[in-house]
Amino acid sequence: MSFNIIGKKIPKKDAPFKVTGQALYIDDVELPGMLYGKILYSKYPHARILHIDTSKAEKLPGVKAVITAKDFPPHFRIGFMKDNPPLKGTKVLSTRDEIAAVCAISPEIAEEALDLISVEYEVLQGIFDPLVAMREDAPILHEEVGSNILKLPWRLVCGDVEKAKKESAYVVEDTFTTQWVTHCCLATSGCVAYFDVNNNLTMYSNTQIPSLAQNEFLEALTALGLRNRRVRIIQVTIGGGFGSKLDTYPYEYIAILLALKTRKPVKIVFSRDEEFFATSPRQCTITKISQGCDRDGRLTFREVEMILDNGAYTSWGATTPSVMMMPISSLYRVPNVKYTATCVYTNNTYCQAMRGYGNPQATFAIESSLDHLAEESGIDPYDLRIINANEPGEITPQGFRVTTCGLKECIEEVAKRLNWKEKRGRGLKKRGVGIASLIHVGGGARVYKSDGCGTIIKMDDFGKVDVFTGASDIGQGADTVIAQIVAEELGVPVEDVNVIHNDTDICPWDVGVHASRTTFVAGNSALFAAKKIKKKLLEILSKLLEVPPEDVAIKNGIAFSKSDPQKSIPLARALRRIHFTTGGSMLMAEHFYDPQNENLNKEFRGNLSAAYAYGTHGVEVEVDTETGKVKILKYVAAHDVGRAINPLLLEGQIYGGVLQGIGYALSEKMIYDNGYLKNGNFLDYKILTVRDVPPVEIVIIETNEEAGPFGAKGIGEPGLVPTAPAIANAIYDAVGVRIRDLPITPEKVLKALKEKNKG
């Protein structure tokens, strides 16, 4: 197939707006009479609240409202398990617990008012280790739940692991741990809430889930006694999401209540400090993993037991095991699988989705353990992966129906570019190579009842196209990719397609930007809507050009007869002709696309995604054995993407993913000390800088996924999934130490080297 616009490196449509400062971020939103909200957080990670005195704050000139838990309905809770009151009235369970909030005519006054609120606490013993929280005698943090263990028993059993273990020629067992990391969005979280005279709510927001947030805010309005109201969400330019804005948070409900009380727009925008300690990071995990293979290296079983620190409340982080199941059951062919995960309440920060949704933690364990198995069995890690690589047409133990699968090509390509055969196992100059692969959902993921996205499309009198999509753009380039898809289908220049994606009053429903689903789901939705409008258009053009519809083609905004190209008409003129006649019409179409994938059933089986994305990362490192520092000399990332709709954006996604992945592997960690975040700033939270970027080579493998728009699969998250194990494996190859705890700091490497040399 040849394309005009698909497959072209087209710069992001929003780039000029962002680089010139024209893009409107949440901080830029100013409404008449707007007030500024600020939140008072708990001083202690675990305490009873004895008394809150807000009287002094209320009297401060410029303060318009002060609210505490008593201003919310008593049983109002938010979050996935409805265990989180937006303001805490009797007990605090973490240092990010919201106790009171104020709004004032300036942020400075609001800030000053916070200092005037006094809270009396009775400090309680905190629990900061999930293993301690699981003990029988541990104090219960959520009395209403009755246990520190969440009632979310993740458990997947396929085949007979016990039997397979006995029959395996080689078996390895290891424990891996991962740390909290945070999204580090360039723009911090925030919203502006306001009510009109009819008590309908408008929220300016940088949410990733406009439709779901709309639903949750409606519930909140009902709880506040405002029935049958409207909620309109207007998304501003979102300066990064990475999963952090996939839920609604207390600050949003606080802004809503402050706006309701004052009848004024109320803005709450997080400071960088708040963004660090009051947003929800990627969950930390303790993973025990065992894998085995037969004499020929065929995997026989995989058994994984995981404990997740849920933190004080429950957001989507607690559901990441549903995605961890995917690599555990389906990365490489493994017939017998057992996986259990326990989420545990502690007095730490509560966790959320973050790019990869559990997959990075699980893949770190699987792919590190696989290298261990390779060593145990004496099989080259590359060969072990090729032997077990997934193939098209396969149905995995969890019930995933693999359509396209370029895993083998990815592994081969990475090995070739790394010069694997030459370099592996030499430990020359303390250098080594490592690889690791990934599977991820690439055709949406049915985690809610619907995995759909709606599109409305219209053409104006000038031949321009407006596409109203449910998709959200959080910087990944949805607007550009959707414009390309529509432009390709309609035969118009990509500049002529305007994508509107930021207003629930205008845009159709969508489940949200997550699970690498937007290009696949919103892309398909846009494509089918474009097909519908094109059908109408061709019929009209056929009449105007007096040729059969099959003979009409459109290119660059000009319609012509294929058999007689002399017969042509500019689209704009054709559109005006049909509009400005008696009984005229305007061209419009809509489509709601919901992919053919399945919710997991009670046994956690089902075809979660309509297509699966694969990839392999390879890395060459050099270890400084005196300092423990790891230097990345070369990085190769190969991804099966179905089709690259826009290679420029695709590469951007992968570069960004790899960088985030390297940070996860080597330097990023939120340091919590007894419930307090110690490094909530960019100086001490070591996200990599541009100077730390190693050379990254990207390999795009196109497998043309039939179900995807023009053959594409999702690629939003995969770029960071196998990074950490690839690096860990390379370090092992270089100097013979395996670090099982992320991040792999110089201290850990040096310590391990010293121990190795002793032994």
Binding site: S667, L683, D684, T689, D692, E747
Partner: protein, 312 residues
Amino acid sequence: MKRFDYHVPQSIEEALNLFKSLGDAIYIAGGTDVMVNIKRKKISPKNLISLRNITALKVIEKGKELKIGSCVTHEQLLKDKYIEKYYTALHDAVRKLGSKQIRNVATIGGNICNAAPSADTACPLLVFDTKVLIRNEKGERKIPLHDFFLGPYSVSKDEGEIVTGFEITFLPPYSGSAYIKHSRREAMDLAIVSVATRLTLSPEVDIDFLKREAGEKTYSEFESRLLSYGITVKEARIAMGVVAPRPLRAKEAEDYLCGKRLTDEAIREASEIASSVAKPRDTLRGEAWYRREMVKVLTRRAILLSAKRAFD
């Protein structure tokens, strides 16, 4: 953030007078420490007196001594070929200091007056036996940089005094220096530990031959040769960052090395001594054991690099 007034005097005298008349004031150069401290509510001065318009403070003078004005920016230092050639440790330090944006405004005077244990220009200036030039109403005084540092963020000067610059005597021939910053990132990071060294050698072998070797051989080849020539160390300076409340000289290690022949063994011993002089703590940014260990590694590497550079 509390409000403040901003003053921009045109001369040192005007600045000194302003300080006296305003009372609640603080000097600001690049502001990259001051503004952070104001935002973090560590300080809340009513007045900021900017030194950035005082041109006299912005020059690098290469006369009888090397004189670096206090308001010389790190980027200015980085681009100075003379400093790169003769005061290489200082060049090493500014190369990895902050980022280009920071280097464009941040000054050497601010770095030294702020006196963070991790201040990157501190150790290089220490190994060059730098003197601090200080102005007050009465006139100018001059004190060794080593005596200027009192503790973390604390220096030996009155609040109203202005540091005008730094004086460095010319180094004898066959001097070489190096600064190694051990950090987690390549930019925008503070050192876990850092070490600066300066050696002045007195080669008793054919110097031209050595020079040729230095030019022709790769670094690692030259390094191993270098240590077999039996070159005598005439003078040694070793300074360490983030191993004590203030940038610290490892005088014991310097004394040990002085007069010795430069051998692998001697360098290792000096590094051990430096490490034993260091008194690092466990902090968020690094553990004490690791810091002590790194002092050893970095001192050795910096000495080797200095020795090699002595022949560049």
